[in-house]
Every structure is written in C-alpha cells, then in structure tokens.
Symmetry: D2
Subunit: 150 residues, 4 copies
C-alpha cells in the first residue's frame, strides 16, 4: 500500500475549475492529472523535461505519444479534496511502457487511471527503442522502494 | 461505414488549443470531444440539455456520472483536421449504458473512445433506473438507421 | 446587430464540461471559445489552418502569439445555451492585430472577449509583418458586410 | 521583489498539456493558473475551499463570479519552466475585489494576469457584501509582509 519512493507518490488538490455543474470533478480532468503526475515523477527522479518533451529550442528525436488510456471512477471528488497519487510504471517491450495511477482520498481509492505510451522516431513516426532516461525511470520503478532518484 | 442517422454522426475540427508541443492533438482532449459529441447527439435527437444536466435553476433528480472511460489513438491529429464522429450507444442494464465513439479522418479510423455511465439518484448517490429521455435515445440508437429524431 | 458576413458570425453551444460547480460556465473557457472562433472564422474565409498554425509537417515562418487578452462577463451561461458569436478584427499596425468577440444569448450580450496578436519570426522571435493571408482577412473584415469569403 | 508572505507567493511548473503546437504555453491556460493560484492562496491562508466554493453537500449563500479578467504575455513559456507566482489582491468596494498575478521566470516577469470578482447572493444573483473569510484574506493581504496565515 505504501508507495516505493517519493518520486512515485505525489499529491494534488482538486480545484474549482476541475469541477462541473454536478458539483464534482469532471471526468476528463483526471487524464490531465495523470499526465501531469507522470511529468512530475520524471522531474523528481532527475530527468529534465526538455530531455523528453519538445520545446521550440530543442525537439528530442524520439516522441512518446499515448496510444491508449483509460480511467475508472469510484468516488466523487469535490473542490478542495487532497489526493494522494501513486504511480506504477511498467515496461511492456523495447518501445512501449504504461503507467498506472491510483488516486487516493482519505486512505481510500477514489479513481484509477492508465496511460500507455509508444516510442516513435519523430522523423518517420516508426516505433523505436525507449530513450535512455525513460529506461532508467522504468527500471528504477520496477526495483521498488529502495531506489533513490538521481 | 455509414452512420445510422444524423444524430449519431457528427463532425468536429481539430483546433490549435487541442494540440501540444509535439504538434498533434493532446490525448485527453479526445475525452472532452467524446462528451461534447454525446451532448450534441442528445440535443439533435430532441432532448433538452437541462433535462439531463444540472443548471442553477434546475437540478435533475438523476445524475449520469461516468464510471469508466477509455481511448485508443491510431493516427496523429493536427490543427485543421476535419473529423467524422460516429457514436454507438448501448444500454448495459437498467441503470447503466455506454457510448462508443469512432473518430474518422479521410475515411480512416484515427481514434476510438468510450464512456460508461451509471444512473444515480442525486440525493443519496444510489443507482437507479435510467431517466426516460435517456432510455428513448438508447432504444432509438439500437434500432438503427430508420429511426428519426423526435 | 446583424453581423457583416457569415465568416464573422458564428455559433456555439455551452457544454457540460464548460461549467463548474457553481452551475455556470467557468470563466477561462470563454478565452478558449474566442480562439476557436478566430480559427473557425479564418477557415470559413478560406484560409487553410496549416497556412497560419504549425503542424509536425509544416511550421510557418511567422507565428501570431497572443500578447494580451481580456474578457467581461455580463450574464451567467449554462449548459445548452446557444450563443451567437460576432467577431470584429482590427489591424493595429504592420505586425499587430486584435479580435473583439461578442457573445450573445437570446439577443442580449452575455460576454465579451478580446485577443491581441503580434506577428513574430519563429527563428528569432522578432516582430515582423503580418502574413499575407492574415492581411486579407483583416482587410475584408474592415470593409464590412459586402465582402464575400474567398 | 520579495512577496509579502508564503500564502501570496506560489510556484508552478509548466506541463506538456499546457503547450500548443507552437511549442509554448497556450494563452488561456494562464487564466486557469490564475484561478488555481487564488484557490491555493486562500487555502494556505487557512480558509477551507468549501467555505467559498460549492460542493454537492454544501452550497455557500454567496458566490464570487469573475466579471472581468485579463492577461499580458511577455515571454514564451515552455514545458518544465518553473514559475514563481506573486498574488496581489485588492478590495474594490463592499462587494468586489480583484487579484493581480505576476508570473516570474528566472527573476524576470514572464506574464501578468488579473481576475475581478463580484459577490452575489446565489438565490437572486444580486450583489451583496463579501463573505467574511474573503474580507479577512483581503485585509491581511493589504497589511503586507507581517501578517501570518490563520
């Protein structure tokens, strides 16, 4: 139940703009939270965002588009709710990985998310090996609690 | 390939704000498009939005929260892409239904989405029968091409 | 009250995901609507989106970032509201323009928006003349009702 | 340059989903950041979100809708940029206030935002005095650096 390390256990507060007229979190915001948690985890682990994500100054040769995502919603979330987020990344094959996200509120699971990513060369959009920093993040996550970030 | 009727076959253009720095549609926007297509379909079928969705003046007794969603991405989508959207709603049980969404670009499938909904009473969040307008929409969709909107 | 032409008078329906827990449109969605209306207007006028907005295959030499925006909210907007949007673009100088947006509901003004844009060269981010298609759109808008789209 | 206190000086990292195909932050995300900073400031000051924002269980009698907002963009922001946010709230009259937001990157101003709010009774949407917690937050902000949160 305990997360392996600080770069796989994050926090987030539900904000007013995340809700809809039913008074609770609007469903697709959760997928945004997933991707932001994934980015935050990489950064806490020690990987510079620009090493994996493009900027006008630098476009990495490999992109990591999402080919599948899903989410399950178990409890309504309201403004001010303070969520724990536990990430569980898994390497699927030499060019693919997925990240499972568990959102906890007051010690109970409130929602789950999953994003599946494929490494492709930006030039021809053909699949290719995962970038080295991503491999390190996945390997460290698979080793569990003892691994410290870079 | 042809959709059964005009209220299950919609269109949408990818806008600049839907993209990210990789130059293509950012994944979670697709889930927003799914819900907006579902709302547009209901409206074209003849159901007033306020019959199903809350406003400050009127809160329906039954809410239809999403309990599961997912999406698959097959082709990159860029600004200006004109998408066809085909909706396939299915009743699952007396209090649940799902909607499958196929996004087509130039005659090829570019992405798929799915939202699964559960009818609950707003007062106690217990599951309950689907509201009558939703039952009519689901039934008409199951009958296929011959059904005209209200 | 009448808009000059079809490419400056658009329509939009408020969707559930545009609202927040107060039951009304969440304020920053209006700025998204403004940009989407601006893109739709350009497209209706006959300008291909890829002529002005970047895709992975083609990056225009000139970008048109927003340097200022603002909005005024006069009436609450709820799910299902069908809005008329009237655009009023104005050239400010050889490298700048702004677009004013009026959102009408049932014949009354519900909100206003404004976006101010600056033409810059992508390579060095220095200001430069507006791209030729943008100049045509601005000129046509200034001539008013009689101008037909391309 | 130094902010008066920790509840008026916040931080935020630009995420991939905040960018568009030009590679930089998409303009309307900044307004979302403004509102989230305002909520975070209130919470750090000691005000429960549910005291001001509605949930399905509790709807405050007074709402604080935004009647005007604006933003100025001075520098492009890219994924991974770590921003400082300084809030400057000001009471305008018994029922209105505004919050100015300055976004700093590497010690330079990258953008500014402003939101203007009006207190209204939820039942009749007529203007009314600001809720007491909001008055305390505004007063404390006006007193400057020495004030500690609740």
């Amino acid at each position: 139940m305990a997360a392996p390390c600080t770069w796989l256990q994050l926090h987030r507060t539900v904000r007013f703009g995340d809700t809809d007229a039913a008074g609770v979190m609007h469903f697709h915001q959760l997928l945004r939270w997933c991707h932001e948690a994934y980015e935050e985890s990489l950064q806490r682990f020690g990987i510079e965002p620009a090493a994996l994500f493009p900027t006008p100054q630098h476009r990495p040769e490999v992109a990591l588009p999402i080919v599948h995502c899903r989410a399950d919603y178990r409890r309504p979330l309201v403004v001010g709710d303070e969520l724990g987020i536990v990430l569980a990344p898994t390497r699927l094959d030499p060019s693919g990985f997925e990240v499972a996200y568990r959102f906890n509120l007051d010690g109970e699971e409130a929602a789950r998310g999953l994003t599946r990513h494929l490494a492709i060369k930006v030039t021809n959009r053909q699949r290719c090996p995962l970038p080295e920093p991503m491999q390190r993040w996945l390997e460290a996550a698979s080793l569990g609690a003892g691994v410290q970030p870079l």
